[in-house]
């Protein structure tokens, strides 16, 4: 039997008197991608936050068996406007106690298409460029599990195909991904979907 990264049993959540989801049970094994789908307001973001313990008003059992906490990209990007791209990436490393080499950062900046913007303040970037910086955390660290809330929004077509490639890569090294998105995911792998509502 594979050891599951994440095991959820009978999750249930109510917000503002509306039932969002109920009796939700699922699991995530290494090398699996779980796509949460559902209309606007169906509770995708709420579910992801609940998984991470960032929203605690849900019932149910949520069990992680990981050595390192999962990486998370949410609607709030977690990057600071008055720091530069590089400084923001470094800070992600500090938070996760991950030793991030300069080479790795340079490579990430290159892959993200931010060459030339290394020392620009994030306040001076475009919407999509800021999103790219936040996505950088997945490139500079090796945490096995990723939780991504709409990583594709604001990203252009090139960026999209690059993102698909890194998702695929991460699965290939037995990483796990929980992702919510309104756009189709085009990777060469089976995708588990979890439909809300």
């Amino acid at each position: 039997m594979v050891i599951q990264m994440l095991q959820v049993r009978n999750a249930r959540c109510e917000r503002d008197g509306r039932q969002l989801f109920e009796d939700l049970s699922f699991s995530l094994a290494p090398g699996e991608l779980l796509q949460v789908v559902g209309g606007n307001g169906s509770g995708k973001s709420t579910l992801l936050r609940a998984l991470l313990g960032l929203y605690t008003d849900c019932q149910g059992d949520i069990n992680w068996s990981l050595d390192e906490a999962p990486l998370y990209l949410g609607h709030r990007l977690g990057i600071k406007q008055s720091l530069t791209v590089i400084e923001n990436l470094r800070w992600f490393g500090v938070l996760r106690e991950a030793p991030v080499s300069q080479d790795r950062i340079d490579e990430a900046v290159y892959k993200l298409g931010l060459t030339g913007f290394e020392d620009s303040l994030c306040a001076h970037l475009s919407e999509g460029q800021r999103k790219r910086v936040a996505l950088g955390q997945f490139l500079i660290m090796d945490n096995p599990c990723w939780v991504m809330d709409e990583p594709f929004s604001a990203i252009d077509a090139d960026g999209l195909s690059f993102l698909m490639a890194i998702l695929q890569e991460h699965l290939d090294v037995n990483g796990g991904i929980v992702i919510s998105t309104h756009q189709p995911i085009t990777i060469d792998r089976p995708i588990n979907t979890l439909a809300l509502q």
Binding site: G53, L54, Y55, L77, G78, S82, L83, F92, V94, E97
Partner: protein
């Protein structure tokens, strides 16, 4: 420890991006102090008598004005939830936040204090007692203020609310500090007060970040 240093560095960096931000608490302090004579009337004798009070209140206000922003920007851009997620100790992070707040708004006030006291015709003994008391008290102010800042960070406009929450906590320190200055001006012993202020500071360092860290966890839960 790594987190502590990196976090203080980060805050200083953000501030020094706009060098004016570093001077602002100082200018604010001087502006508020010179406001009092305008409000109260310009007689030197009277001013001197209430000078320690004025300086104290001005320092308090400068601290309070910058308090609200201690966690706000981190909360709004999502950095705070990243910290909570990271499984690093929120206690350390909070302590680092308080430390940089003190470095950026407490310490400069301490350094400026002698000048401010001169403007209000204070004499030498008073000036030194004032500066020393502020040095001992300002870290406590930042520590206690952090609790209020974390509690109100999720609310649309925290500024005034922070003041209201934190002020009662400030009262004992304020009372001790002004008593110390008055004792010094009267030429009596101040060492007792110093011990007391140190004890309070020590207590605040140990306890306040626990409360603040708990408040941070509540703020990101949504």
């Amino acid at each position: 420890m790594n987190l502590f240093i990196a976090s203080v560095q980060r805050d200083l960096l953000v501030h020094f991006r706009h060098p004016s931000e570093v001077l602002n608490p100082l200018i604010f302090f001087v502006v508020v102090i010179s406001l009092f004579p305008l409000g109260i009337g310009p007689e030197p004798g009277q001013l001197k008598e209430i000078a320690p009070g004025i300086v104290w209140v001005a320092a308090l206000l400068a601290t309070l004005m910058s308090m609200d922003s201690m966690f706000r920007s981190d909360f709004e851009d999502g950095s705070l939830e990243q910290v909570v997620l990271s499984e690093q100790s929120t206690f350390i992070f909070v302590l680092a936040k308080v430390a940089s707040h003190w470095l950026l708004s407490g310490l400069p006030l301490v350094l400026l204090m002698p000048l401010a006291a001169l403007l209000l015709f204070l004499d030498e003994a008073g000036i030194w007692a004032l500066t020393l008391s502020l040095l001992l008290v300002s870290p406590t102010l930042s520590l206690l203020g952090g609790i209020g800042a974390a509690l109100t960070v999720g609310l649309p406009r925290g500024g005034l609310l922070v003041t209201i929450l934190v002020m009662p906590l400030y009262v004992p320190v304020l009372v001790l500090a002004t008593a110390m200055v008055q004792a010094a001006e009267a030429g009596s012993e101040t060492i007792g007060y110093i011990y007391w202020l140190l004890a309070i500071l020590f207590g605040a360092v140990c306890l306040a970040p626990i409360a603040t860290a708990a408040a941070v966890n509540v703020a990101t839960d949504q």
